[in-house]
Symmetry: C2
Subunit: 258 residues, 2 copies
């Protein structure tokens, strides 16, 4: 049994608690959170403390807290023999400060309390300060996910950049669409099936093949009509992304018939 203490009560902590509790060979022995406000979200049978001095002895302490709180919380954790890991894509190992045995478990997924997700299908990028601890971390994460891979801090930061495009920026495109629906008096619900399918397509197509629309087919007439209806930030975004798509397909079709 790998004994785990979970620190934090946000989106990542919530999903990890569920996965760790149902995993074989894993014992989630304790949760820590600064306040008791989110306690009702968690299984009350898990021992809970609001005092870092009362942390139990465990093999792994998982800091599932906000990026900017990692260094501060890590500094407050007493010296214990277990491995201290954080869950951030953007932060390096060094955030864990003076602790001797440190590591990272980064779930490449946008997790939220609103929706329970099957972590089995979520890839985890893992890292540790020693080969032995990396083995312990890999064993633990293998119990909750089928996709565990090693990635050092430098490369994890790069993966995080790709995730910003794949998730943050694509979601912001949905947000622009919603804002335009309000401007145009069109119910946003009409777009929801399109949005789901946009993501699903990438399970069996490369995004380059899945691309459609006026920019891809160099339809300058439609592009001009669209620009006339847009203003401000959304016009700037439309212009830049349209140019970028045109360039991308000119490059990729170099020598091929369009």
């Amino acid at each position: 049994m790998i004994k785990v203490v979970l620190i934090g009560d946000g989106n990542v902590a919530y999903q990890l608690a569920i996965a760790l509790q149902s995993a074989n060979n894993v014992d989630l022995i304790q949760r820590y959170s600064r306040s008791e406000s989110n306690n009702s979200l968690f299984d009350p049978s898990i021992d809970h403390t609001t005092d870092l001095k009362h942390l139990k002895h465990a093999d792994i302490y998982i800091l599932a807290v906000k990026d900017e709180a990692i260094a501060e919380v890590a500094a407050l954790i007493p010296d214990l023999n277990g491995i201290v890991v954080h869950t951030s894509g953007a932060m390096g190992l060094e955030q864990l400060g003076r602790h001797q045995r440190i590591g990272v478990i980064y779930p490449v997924q946008s997790l939220s309390i609103q929706q329970k997700i099957n972590l089995k299908k979520v890839p985890f990028a893992i890292e540790a300060s020693s080969k032995e601890d990396l083995d312990v971390i890999r064993t633990l994460i293998s119990h909750i996910s089928e996709h565990v891979f090693d990635l050092d801090s430098a490369k994890r930061e790069k993966l995080h950049i790709t995730a910003v495009f794949a998730n943050n920026f694509s979601n912001f495109m949905f947000s622009c669409a919603e804002d335009l629906c309000q401007q145009f008096d069109i119910p946003f619900d009409i777009l929801r099936p399109l949005i789901v399918e946009t993501g699903k397509k990438i399970q069996y197509l490369d995004p380059l093949e899945a691309q459609t629309g006026p920019a891809k087919r160099l339809d300058h007439e439609v592009i001009q009509k669209h620009k006339k209806e847009l203003k401000g930030m959304q016009k700037e975004i439309y212009t830049l992304l349209t140019e970028a798509i045109i360039k991308t397909y000119q490059k990729n079709n170099h020598g091929k018939k369009l």
Copy 2:
């Protein structure tokens, strides 16, 4: 029985053929395509012609051809008594030229031959030049989709703009992520579960609530680190979208605690 002739053999024609064939009270009596090259994709029991002069008498002729071909193909269709409709979000009714009874059925979905899709869940925006023909079109489309709504050409063009953001631009974000994965030597497969979830979330959250990432949380340190790793077009996109997200959340959080 509503008799339908389907003109075209691309993505939209393929999906419509399947839906029309399995619909109650609809008889897909003929298909037209310029060549026979895609014939193997279609049920061979549907009568097929490559000559527009041989079109059968039908209630509705559906032009499922590329935007830029609509006017040309419409002009070549002989004078028949049925309603001639196109399937484009970007094009007006006037593309159908001299025909007396005209309309539009625009599926708000990115359709492809690679993946059969359930059109029942796909919203269709419909339009016609007369109230009577709009009723016929509505009856037809109600047999293949649960979500049929009336939209005139001007508003359909606006809906198309929102779909460019919701689909074309979000897909291009996935494309940028894939390109970056190649640059950084990270397998793109790691991002596929994140991409699916990004779209699925919008079924139960508004994009404004679903937004996460360094721009949303004003994490300037991470933003600067990311910019250092990017160049060219991707750096421009990162910069513009990061600014836009920051502005959006400042606006929406005006007066609220961040």
